[in-house]
Structure formats: structure tokens, C-alpha cells
Symmetry: D2
Subunit: 304 residues, 4 copies
């Protein structure tokens, strides 16, 4: 039996000792205000036991973590057709997402880089009656938590400064891979990224990917095969150009966001979320990565 | 003595024989309507003698040719400071202008690729009181022709479909290399590109670069050193990724536009403009390139 | 209980129906002689039960599959130090392994692309007394099969035509990331790639990676953590620029070779090898990929 | 009338004041031994008047400057056919010559980058009876100086450390764009680059490119059109990724070498050579560039 409380306790002790906590994201002004000393971690296992430590009930901006959820909803709506508009390969290079887009005629490398997530957002804008509301309802339903909401300030902050996303969306448009207009799609995308959740809520949300497509309330959202694919994408593409490193050190499918959150899961076993706002050079939470390494080292479990 | 009338006559005979005239630009809807059989050519020499053949007095959209003029006006306004925001090297690669921008931290390779010309447009928007009007006046003054004007339909057409330019401008903005807002700068840029001139007018405009900075009316616009630099840029960067080929085959500084126009010059000797709307695969006028090759072969003169 | 015999039988029936079998590798002359209609598949489970179908006992050139084994031996010899000379990220781009090497100062992206495997070969050449013999012994010991050997003709054939590997090795040397001389390292590398095994032997060899570091004979070769890392690398980097696709469709760590072999494994469950010489455009066995997809679809098991 | 003696005198005064002289090339061990304080400059005009200053009669390794001469000899031997194996466009990027080669299927961007010059060397090896001897004779004949010779120590030094050139040659070979074997071609290439000349000899050698194809002894080596093309290539590609800068600041066709030499010319006017061993970050002679800028500023002459 794995003793999660002890493991979490030890992780927190180690985390507290670390003085170099990384850099809080600055490019979205609202995010730069967060206290870098925050740290939370929450685990839910397959039997719905829960364990937590630190600031696990304080909400933060999930940012790129939301890409897994928009992908999940889009797959539910249009299925395999999605893969005609976005590929499933790791992007490899740190700096040239837009250049890859140019080289590959407007087909983003995968749905977890910004360009790919913008295409997914475009699909949701096309298919949902009230895109923002319907996406929010989807999140609330899967997690069973009606209190989850967008953070309007964060969305507005990103709208004013998200020039790189405007560049990506316009480039996609030039290749015919954006069907709605740029402003509408990015308004949806910035709201999606602004979702505010705490670690506990995140694990309840991602329970569905750990549990073969069934959510906490036992409703089925995805087929086994769809879950396999989403988890495979998280493993190969979930951590920007540090995906290989995360697979290598941690060995779990997961997704990070520049808000400092990370969620990861061991299929059929547990789902875990961490939050620490300081980022490493690759844009992933420095202490979150460390905490998850300690977790899989302590449990001696990984998908490999 | 060079017999320009005979040379032009022979060039037209040869051009008429060519059946494969290239592809009229399609990405700007207004431009796709032009008759591909148009051909005009006009020469003005250092003594202001003029020679022409074909449709040399029919106006067309000069598009990228305008980049030399906005550069010229910007150099006049801020001088060497301009080179802190844009480099002077050929771009080399055909497809990855945006990727180069990412690799080089938002400093465009040179002022004659789109990204570079957008930075130059940004400078003019910052420095001119009434940017569009003042730029138009500059053009009218240098050429001594008050009838030159923007083509509002072409500008509007490009505004609706210029997603790649919106991508470039937003990417520049993300690097802090665009000081005004994207829409304002691109409105100026699309107008600048929409300038409608005929071959005759183009040679009168570019006379200033052939004549060491003095325009047809003998007013001085640029120093000898500034003219040297602008001509050097035309030679190394004036024909997209076919600049080497043009230098190699023709051997004159020049600039092409997707409207099918090309202007070129032999310093202190003559200035020449051609117009044929069909483009080769690299985006330069197919028959214009051929006509200029025939011209320098017949005259046995080039800068080399 | 999973009925492997039935599953294998059904896979062979499906495979037999496929007329388009891909292209046998041509760049190594010896390999181009292989009959494209060969097909074999072998499974060994955690209880050492074995199941097979087709040409599963006919030896073929394992080529890049050998990279996992040289990596494994090198990790055993120098441990974590290896990661100072080679990274662990997917390479992303299909075409530009050498360009990545230039951009990243001679540190190959991962040990499963050619440049990375050449660095690993260099390590073995430095550390082993009789590199080729000692590596062969290592293979024979892990698999418990003394009959395994190099194919001298294949090694010689690659030596004569492996200009791209000579290019990579010289580039590594120019960055100081090759300590022995180019010819010595490549002689080792070409021999390593020439190893001739059949599907049955391959599964016995890779049993060690499925079985947490213990080989069929119950000797321990690697720690759990080392196995996790090697399996993670196979998943993220084992199929050239189709690694994402393989993770997405099959969901197992694995490695392919241009000889048409693929080996894959579900940790603690089974190890499987397929052989079909025809390759798809990305250089992976066309029917091998298909057979493994059918296997994980039928068993409903994957690491995700 | 231009007063060359005064101009050269003033340039030397300025050069003497500069304390930061750049870095002597280190990657060829023999070159790293050169005294960084050397400076020489020599001019020959169209009337064969000569002017010099400093160490203008001390020989140095001309390195890449030799690429213009091998190109010239190859054009004389096979004419336009050469352009099927090498392109005429600037390479643009500083770091990725090999990656460009991969992207462009083994056709080097131009004959003045290493990969292109290696293809030209391959052509000479194929076409000349005694390649090294015949090339040397060609150099001696054009310059009218039988004392010019290879520097065997420099050639040997480069052979031992030229791994990047071995990489390029092998990559060319993998694309079928090298017809002879790698070692033979590189032996020729390293000798060609090791040619030892002083500034005075260099100007006599390049007189042929300034004088429309006729050498100092009035023998015709090239047609006017061939000279135009070679000069155009020097202008657009002669200074690595600083070609644009050189055209922009100096405005003359020219070629630099890592031995610290630069040769440049104003067609029909003069040919000039400089030597200062310290290089700038782009690999061009720091003070040589400065001296040539001062020369064209003082003479107010350039091709533009």
C-alpha cells in the first residue's frame, strides 16, 4: 500500500527547503502579481480517496492545462475529423512554433501547442451554440463543481498583450485553417485559458482521463481509445520542449500551464495536481516538476 | 552610343513570342483581375531622355516596390537610427520570414521583406503628422507628378485578406518592435502598397536613386552615402529569394512587386521600369525579369 | 484472459489482405534484396509464455533497434554522465537532424536518432576493451542466446554507403562530442546496426525492459529507474518523426529499424516483435505498425 | 583625380589607433600563430599604377578567397553546366550551412560557402589532369607570378582538424553531388585554401575580375558575362552572413578569408587587397572591413 499522506508530507518538507523557486510568468500582467511562495498538491486515487498538502484549495489560472479539456470536448463533438486540422507529433523546437506552422502549411504540430489549441478553439466556436458558456458547463459537469468559472481580469489582460497568439491565429487564417474570425476565436481562447481552479478541482476534472473516460460521477465522456490518445498526447507534447524530460524523469502523462499548475495521472491509479507559480526556463513550474519527480520516485510507479 | 529605341523594340518582339507568361498574383483579389498580356517598359537616362514601349503609361499596383520609398522617407526622417530596428542582410530562405523573425528576436532581416517594411511603416506612422497624406506628398514631390494616388480598392482588398501581414505585425509587436497599434500601421502599409503608377512614373520616381540623391527637379533628398545603401539593399534583397539570381543575370539594383512591376537602375546612367503581371514561382514578374536581362545583355552594361 | 493465439491469427489474416506493403529500404544495398512479403510476429508474456505467427524465426537486420541496446549498455557503464553528451527530447523534424546538431552545439537531441546513437557508440568504444566483441557478448547474455551475431555483409554495405553517418560523426567531432576517431566509431556503429535477429530473439532481448531490468535468466541489468528512462525514450523518440503517431495509435514504448523490425512492450505484461520489410514514408515498417495497432486494439491494453 | 597615396596613408593612421583588433582564427592551428598586429593594403588601378602601405608584401593564407579562383577556373572548364550543381543565392543564415544543404537536397546555396566550394573542387578534380598542379599553374598564370605556392603546413593542419568540411563533403556525397571520393576532393580543397599570397599578389590576381576578364598580361580568361556573374556572386555572397553589411557599407564586390585577407574591386577602376589577421564575430577581418569602408568613403566611389 502506498502511504500518500506521508509522501505528500515529505514532499512539502523538501519543497520548503528550496530557495530558488523560478520566475513567475510575466508576459500576462495579471499573472505576474502572484506570490511565488504558494505551493499546493492534491491527489485523488481510483477509489476516490483524496490527499492534499499546502495551498491545494487556492484557485489559480490554469492557462495551457485548459487545452486538454478543449481538445476533449472537440473530440467528443467531431471525433477523428479533428486530426485533419492538427497533427499529433511533438514540436521539438523551443522557439519556432510559428516557423513550423509555415513549414507545415498551417497544420499545427499538435493540439497542445498554442497554434494547435487555437485550431481546437476554432472548432468549438463553430460547433457550440454559446461557445464560452457551453465550454464552462462542460468543465463544471465533468468535475461536478458548478463553482468553477473564468477569471475575466486574466482574460482581459491576455487579450491586451497576447500579440503572439494574434500572430499565430492570423497565420492559421492565411492557410485557411481558421474558419471563424480571429477576434472571436481568440476571445474564446483567452477565456478558456483564464479558467481559475485549485489543485483539488483539477484532479476531479482530470479524473476522467485517469478513469478510462468516466468522470467522478460515473458518466462516460470519452471512449477508451480516445482517452488513450489524449493521454499519449499529454505524454509526448504536454510540457512544451521539456516533454521528453518529463516523461524521462516523472513518467506520467500530464499538462502544465504558465500559471504554475501541473496535472498528471497514472491510468487506473491516481490523478495528481500541483501548483507553484515560479517557472523554469522552459516555462514549466519548477517546484511542480520536482514534486512530481519525488512522487513517482517514492511510489516507484510510472507508466513505464 | 546605346540605341535604346532599337533595344526596346527588339525586347518587345521577343516578349511577344513568349506564350508562358507566368501566373497573375491571386492572393490579393483585386490584383487577380489584371490582363496577363499587358507589357510595358520605360527608360529615362541621366540626360532625361526617355524611351518607351508597350503599355508603359497604364498604371498598376506597385506593391512591394513602395518599400524602397517608405525606406527612403524614413531614412530622411531618422537616419542611421533606423538600423537598430531592422537589419541589412538578405533573408535567404523563401518560406520562413516569420521564423527568422522568431530566431532573431523580432529584428527583421532587411527593410525590403514584409516584416521589415512593416517596421519602416511603423516609423513613418510615428514621425509623420498625417502619415498617408504626407507619404503620398513625398512620392508626388520626388516624381514631380501630383496625379499619383493610392488605389482604395486594392488597399481594402489587401486589408481583408492580408492575414500573413497581420501575423507579422503582431509578432513584431510581441517583440516590442512595433510602437503603434497593429491596425494603424497596417492601414498605412496597405495604402502604401496600393500606390498606382505606370512605368513612366516609376522611372521618374526612382530617378533620385540613380542620380545620387537628386530628383528629376534637382532637389536633393538623400546623401550619396544614403543612396549607396538603398541601392545596395535593392541589389542584395530586392527580389525575395531570387535576389542572387537577379544580381547574377541582370546585374542592376532593382525592386519588384507582385503587381508585376520591376524598377531597376544603373547609377549615373539610366533608370528603367517594366510591367508584366504574370509572376514566376518566386513572385517576380516573369517577363519583366527577361526584359531586363535582354536590356543589360544588349547594352553590355551592369554595375559589375 | 487475453487469447494471444487468436489475436495473432486474426492479425495475420488481416495482414495477408493488404496489397500495399510499403517500400523495402534501399539506401543500404544489402537490405534492398529482402522479400517484401515476409511477415513475422512473436509475443512473450511476463510468465514466459510465447506465441508466434508467420516468419517469426527468420533473422533480419535489426538496424536502429540496436540503439536501445547500446544505450542500455552505456548507461550501465557510465550512468547519468551520459546525459551530458546527449539530450532526451524528441527531435520533431524529419529532415534536419544535422541542422539540429548545428543549432544545439553538437549535443544530439536524443540517443535514438543517428547522431545520438553515434555518441553512445563512441562511449562504448571508449569504455569497452574489445568493443564489438563485448557488445555482442552483452546481447547474447541478456537474450540468453549465444547464436546471435553481426552480419558482416550488411556492416560492409553500410560502411560503403553511409555518407550521412560519416557527415554526422564528423560534425560531432567538430563540436568535440566524439572522443575516438570517426572511422573506429562508425565501424562499431555499422556492426551494431547489422545485428541479425528474428522476432523471437528480439522479444527475449527486450524482455529486460518489460521486466523492470531483469532479463529472462533473472539477472539484473538495469535499475527500475533506468528502465523507466529507457522506456520513456522509446515512447517519445523511438519512431523518428512518427513517435507521436505511434504513442497515439499503439500506446506502447517501442523501437523500429529500417530492416522492417519493430519491438514494443507493455511493462510487466508482455514484449512483442514484428517484422515486415516494407517501410512507410517515415521509415517505419508499414505492416508492423498496423499489426501492433491491431494488437493493442484487440487487447484493449496500453500504457495509457 | 583620386589621391591614393594620401588615402592609404590616412587609413593606416586610423588603423594604428584601433586597439581592439579582433580574434585571430583558431580553428586551423597553423593560422592561430599569426601576429594580430600585421596590417597591409595594396591597390592597383586600371592603368596598372600601384599603391601600398604596411605589410603589403608579406604572404598570408588566403583561405576562402581561393574559392573565387576555383570557381573561375571551373566556369572556364564547364561553363553554365556548373549551375546545375550549385545555386547562386545568398545563404542568409550564419549557422546552418549543413541544414540548408539538407533542406535543399544537396545543392549548396552558392559557390562561395564551403559546401559550394567543395562541389567546385570536385569539378576541378574531375576535369583537371593534375588537379593541384594545374590549379596552381592557373593562379600563377593569371597573376603573372610563378612564385605563388601552396603552404603545405597549413594544408596539413586543416586536414587534421577540418571535421566540418568532412561533414559537408560526406553530406554532399550522400546526395550524389560529389563525384570523386571525399578524401581526394578535400585534399585538393585544403591545398587550394592554403595558397599563400601577399596583398600585392592578390590584387594582380583579381585584376582579371576588375578588367572584364583580361588579366594583367592582357590574356583573356573570362567573358564579360562570366565576370559579371562572378562579381555579382562576390557582392551577394562574398562575406558569409555579413555580405549585406559589406555591400551596404563598402559597396564593392569582394571576398574575405579567415586568414584575415580581403580583396575587393571597382569594375574598370581598381582592385584592392587588405590584410589584418584579427576577425570579427562573423569571421571577416575586422580592420580590413574598416579600411575598405574608409577607402570608399574617401574616394566617394562604389558600384552603387
Amino acid at each position: 500500500m502506498i502511504n500518500y499522506p506521508d509522501i505528500l508530507h515529505n514532499i512539502q518538507l523538501e519543497i520548503n527547503k528550496v530557495s530558488e523557486r523560478g520566475q513567475v510568468a510575466r508576459y500576462i500582467p495579471e499573472l505576474s502579481k502572484i506570490d511565488p511562495h504558494k505551493f499546493g498538491m492534491h491527489i485523488i486515487d481510483a477509489n476516490r480517496n483524496e490527499f492534499s498538502v499546502g495551498d491545494s484549495e487556492e484557485a489559480f489560472s490554469i492557462q495551457s492545462i485548459s487545452k486538454v479539456l478543449s481538445l476533449s470536448q472537440a473530440i467528443g463533438l467531431i471525433g477523428e475529423e479533428l486530426w485533419t486540422r492538427v497533427d499529433v507529433e511533438p514540436s521539438g523546437d523551443p522557439f519556432n512554433h510559428l516557423s513550423l506552422l509555415e513549414q507545415e502549411n498551417g497544420i499545427p504540430r499538435n493540439p497542445l501547442i498554442n497554434a494547435g489549441a487555437i485550431v481546437v478553439a476554432d472548432i468549438l466556436v463553430s460547433k457550440l451554440k454559446n461557445p464560452k458558456e457551453d465550454f464552462l458547463t462542460y468543465i463544471q459537469d465533468i468535475s461536478g463543481d458548478k463553482s468553477i468559472n473564468f477569471d475575466a481580469d486574466v482574460a482581459a489582460s491576455e487579450k491586451e498583450t497576447g500579440f503572439r497568439n494574434y500572430a499565430a491565429a492570423n497565420l492559421l487564417k492565411s492557410y485557411g485553417n481558421l474558419h471563424n474570425d480571429v477576434d472571436t476565436v481568440l476571445d474564446f481562447y483567452f477565456h478558456q485559458c483564464s479558467l481559475a481552479l485549485n489543485c483539488k478541482q483539477l484532479t476531479k476534472l482530470f479524473f476522467v482521463f485517469m478513469n478510462r473516460g468516466k468522470c467522478l460521477q460515473n458518466n462516460t465522456y470519452l471512449t477508451t481509445s480516445q482517452v488513450k490518445r489524449i493521454n499519449a498526447l499529454m505524454l509526448t507534447c504536454g510540457f512544451y520542449d521539456e516533454a521528453g524530460e518529463f516523461a524521462f524523469e516523472v513518467g506520467l502523462p500530464g499538462k502544465s500551464g504558465v500559471g504554475g499548475g501541473i496535472v498528471a495521472l497514472l491510468p487506473n491509479n491516481y490523478c495528481v495536481a500541483t501548483w507553484s507559480p515560479g517557472l523554469n526556463k522552459k516555462g514549466n513550474s519548477k517546484l511542480g516538476m520536482l514534486a512530481l519527480e519525488m512522487l513517482t520516485t517514492a511510489t516507484k510507479q510510472s507508466i513505464f
